[in-house]
């Protein structure tokens, strides 16, 4: 049917269209075409609106877009070598990266080294640094050879190898070739634990130097965990704020905002005081006995786990790094206490133990006393040390929980600091959900839970989405808090970007890592848009 329609209709249709006169344009009262007049009228207001936003636009462009662009480019472009060593750059451009280095390459290198040393900016250090990033140890090779280069004579190959035998090593030349490429994927490859070679391949970095992928994954894991924690903690708070009478909810709002107005540094430091081994929380736990209760429960749990499902328990213990030694049971608190006293006070403690009734003595005390009576203080203290080592309880601070200088610390502090970013969007969305929806749901027969889950919760999802996106993106680039409380397993990728910015001065690598991070953020933004829809996001 469609075919016949086209066949019969199309030519006629075109003919009709061609014949049809174009309608005369509508004219405004003064005779100009209406369309043009409208454009003129709108132009003025448009320009006025643009003038209002122009300063911000300009500011964003200069302070945000251009630097980000420039920085991302820096991850691809590094001409530190090519700029100052043009001859060898040219000579190496045609080299295949595998065959024996030629005399021309050596000659060009010597000429470049001489020129670089005479250059007023003294770029030899920068050149050496660049090559050193590709092959460790070449820095001094360059600086020392440069000092001798002026006195070298042809044949340059022999002269250079005589100056340092590393010049005979093809690895050196391969590193130079990689460094001499100005537009290079080397840094982006390095930021993902790959290595760009002289032959143009990209291969995995050797195992003991792979670090970035682990860090990116950990960063994502921490950001995700923090997001989930802020939802779990923030949702009830936001709900209370949205549903309590105004006075109470205002008070809550202030409580939520108050930490928000305090410097991140102060808040993080406060967490250090709270969580550290000798900190407030541990002191309270220690004083109230919660500490030993938890340790006791931990041990019983481990015992039970081991009894019922030995293999499963082992797996759990390994995975979660549950540091539970059974022998600790043998040396439960009392015993440990005696040992510690002897270790710290020596004879005094032993004399104290000697005055106790035999029935009141712990096993450890009995053992130590026996040795004290037989062989004196020194031997008894040695025994105490032995007991302590045998028992596997690492003595000092071990009965206290490690809540800081590790991932736990990072999670706790970041969750606290980012909580307002979850509570505020949630609150502003929940504020708009009328209580009559819940009442309607209940009147229609829904239990409290069903009414919440099917009616209230879906309507609060835009708030969760906005809060989650906000918290996640902030968390993924978090830096100060993990730097202060992260210890060794609570560090995030930003800390390494910082390290390369401030310490190793490897700015291109920092730029590449930042670029990868930015791509991550954009990816998650896109994912969010696909799943939730960005126009579903409500900040208020």
């Amino acid at each position: 049917m469609a075919v016949t329609e086209v066949g019969t209709d199309a030519p006629g249709g075109e003919a009709r269209k061609a014949k049809q006169p174009k309608p005369a344009p509508l004219l405004a009262a003064d005779g100009t075409p209406l369309r043009k007049k409208l454009r003129q009228a709108l132009m003025l207001s448009r320009m006025r609106a643009f003038a209002l936003v122009a300063p911000l636009l300009l500011f964003i462009l200069i302070a945000f877009v251009i630097p980000i662009f420039a920085f991302m480019v820096q991850g691809f472009y590094d001409n530190e070598y090519a700029k100052f060593m043009p001859r060898s750059t040219e000579a190496l451009a045609d080299w295949d990266g595998e065959s024996e280095p030629t005399e021309e390459m050596y000659a060009a290198m010597v000429a470049d080294l001489v020129a670089a040393r005479d250059h007023p900016d003294r770029p030899i250090g920068r050149v050496a640094t660049r090559v050193n990033r590709e092959l460790s140890g070449t820095r001094s090779l360059f600086t020392s050879t440069a000092r001798k280069a002026a006195r070298m004579e042809a044949p340059f190959k022999d002269a250079m190898i005589k100056a340092d035998k590393d010049w005979a090593d093809i690895e050196t030349w391969q590193a130079v070739k990689v460094a001499s490429t100005a537009w290079t994927p080397a840094y982006y490859a390095a930021s993902l634990d790959f290595k760009y070679t002289a032959t143009g391949d990209i291969v995995r970095q050797s195992e003991d130097r792979r670090i970035h992928v682990t860090l990116f994954l950990r960063t994502l894991e921490i950001a995700f965990t923090v997001t989930v924690l802020t939802i779990l903690l923030g949702y009830p708070v936001a709900w209370l704020m949205a549903n309590l009478p105004l006075r109470t909810s205002n008070l809550l709002l202030i409580l939520v905002l108050l930490p928000f107005w305090t410097s991140i540094l102060v808040r993080t430091t406060a967490w250090i005081a709270m969580l550290q081994g000798q900190g407030v929380l541990n002191d309270v736990a220690d004083w109230s006995g919660i500490n030993s209760m938890i340790v006791w429960a931990e041990l019983r749990f481990a015992e039970l786990g081991d009894m019922l499902w030995p293999s499963v328990w082992q797996e759990i213990a390994n995975r979660f790094d549950v540091n539970l030694a059974y022998d600790r049971l043998a040396l439960a608190s009392l015993c440990a206490n005696d040992v510690n006293q002897v270790l710290n006070q020596g004879q005094g403690a032993l004399d104290g133990l000697a005055q106790r009734a035999a029935a009141d003595l712990t096993d450890c005390a009995t053992e130590m006393l026996a040795i004290y009576n037989a062989n004196g203080v020194e031997a008894a203290v040695a025994k105490a040390r032995e007991l302590k080592a045998d028992a596997g309880f690492a003595g000092y601070g071990d009965e206290r929980f490690s809540m800081i200088y590790n991932k736990t610390g990072t999670l706790i502090a970041m969750t606290h600091i980012l909580l307002p970013f979850m509570v505020l969007p949630l609150y502003s969305v929940m504020k708009t959900i009328k209580p009559s929806y819940l009442r309607a749901a209940k009147s229609l027969g829904a239990t409290n839970w069903v009414a919440f889950w099917r009616v209230y919760f879906p309507q609060s999802v835009p708030g969760i989405g906005a809060g989650a996106l906000l918290v996640f993106i902030l968390a993924i680039g978090y830096y100060i808090t993990p730097a202060l409380v992260g210890g060794q397993d609570g560090q995030m990728i930003s800390n390494f970007i910082d390290f390369h910015m401030r310490r190793s001065l490897n700015w291109p690598l920092a730029a590449a890592m930042g670029g990868v991070l930015l791509i991550f953020v954009l990816f998650f933004y896109w994912l969010y848009d696909r799943i939730v829809g960005i126009d579903n996001m409500k900040l208020g």
Binding site: S443, L444, G445
Partner: protein
């Protein structure tokens, strides 16, 4: 459809409600509602009518007293187990669900089979003539359409009792009047019991079998619409329902239910003694504007008073005349725009009078 006192469907017994423990919002409420009845709770805002409705729905608990539904006390039954349909002032349609999903919701929580749900939803949508709108979101509907959906949702699970909390308050006048008839018709065809809350007296008069007029936490009068208008039992009801002229005075004597009243300016009139204590007590006379006769036949009407015409408003079917009568400057008379009716002039003096049974002597509140 009067409540059968022996076994009312809904009963409030000595119900009291206080929010702050100091003042009572509902004072000693007794009310029986029969099965299938359309009862309206009418009153100004703050009169306690909505609180009563919320106690019935289960969203507020009574401070004292008992509420029974079909003979069983429901004070401690949670709202979702009461099986009462409810229509809210702002519809409360779930914005994240389609119309059909909104209607299916009460059926789903009752774990009804899917096929039955679809059938019932379709039927309910047909009932409110919204069959084509099942796939839309509430935000895509007009106010009137949303109202119909809210109504359908409250009815779709076949509740025996439906509560409506000022459901038409957000609609414009024309739509509101249209919806009043529609609700009325649905009520008649389903035979469901309806408790309806409004502050709009014309709405109440149009739809209800009986109206409970609330003021100050107390039911002032519970009666069918006609009774309420024709025979208000106290000054509040007379004033609240329809237009009313009041004249204050003092009862001189009561004979056979007719009181002789001396008005404050000395004129004497007679009125039905509805709510007066006896000779010597103060009273407020209530006369409806349309019952006042201008220049009446003196032989039929015992007492006539002087009326000084202050203002005339032409309203097509009648003329509204404001005059000063017995010291009341706001005395309104509706003069029918009938053939042969004499035209009045501003500032002229006329005689006004009324039948004794049209004038009710009420409490002086």
């Amino acid at each position: 459809m009067q409540a059968s006192d022996g076994n009312p469907f809904v009963a409030f017994e000595r119900v009291q409600k206080s929010y702050d423990g100091e003042t009572l919002v509902v004072k000693d409420l007794n009310l029986s509602i029969g099965k299938g009845e359309f009862l309206t709770m009418l009153g100004p805002s703050g009169s306690g009518k909505t609180t009563c409705l919320m106690m019935l729905a289960g969203f507020e608990t009574a401070t004292h007293g008992e509420i029974r539904l079909a003979g069983k006390p429901i004070n401690s039954v949670p709202p979702h187990k009461r099986g009462i349909g409810m229509v809210f002032q702002n519809y409360a349609l779930f914005p994240h669900m389609t119309v059909a999903e909104n209607l299916a919701f009460p059926l789903q929580v009752r774990k009804m089979p899917k096929a039955d749900i679809e059938a019932k939803v379709a039927k309910a949508l047909g009932m409110v003539q919204m069959g084509a709108f099942g796939g839309r979101r509430p935000a895509q509907l007009s106010g009137g359409q949303q109202q119909r959906i809210a109504l359908a949702r409250a009815l779709v699970f076949d509740p025996e009792l439906v509560l409506m909390d000022e459901p038409l308050g957000a609609l414009d006048k024309q739509l509101r009047e249209h919806m009043q008839y529609e609700i009325k018709h649905i009520h008649e065809s389903l035979g469901v019991t309806v408790v309806y809350v409004t502050h709009d007296q014309s709405e109440a008069l149009t739809m209800s079998d009986r109206i409970a007029v609330f003021n100050d936490g107390v039911i002032q009068q519970l009666a069918p619409p006609a009774d309420l208008y024709e025979r208000p039992e106290n000054a509040f009801v007379a004033q609240f329902i329809g237009e009313n002229n009041k004249l204050s005075g003092k009862v001189e004597e009561i004979t056979d239910g007719v009181a002789e009243v001396v008005l404050d300016d000395g004129e004497r009139v007679s009125a039905l003694a509805v709510n007066v204590e006896g000779p010597g007590s103060r009273t407020l006379l209530s006369v409806r504007p349309e019952r006042v006769v201008i220049n009446p036949d003196e032989a039929r009407i015992a007492h006539t008073l002087d009326g000084h015409v202050r203002e005339l408003i032409y309203l097509g079917d009648h003329i509204r005349c404001r005059m000063a009568v017995a010291g009341n400057d706001e005395f309104i008379v509706k003069v029918p725009n009938a053939a042969g009716q004499k035209h009045l002039a501003v500032d002229s003096h006329v005689r006004v009078g009324w039948e004794t049974e049209d004038c009710r002597a009420l409490d002086a509140a």
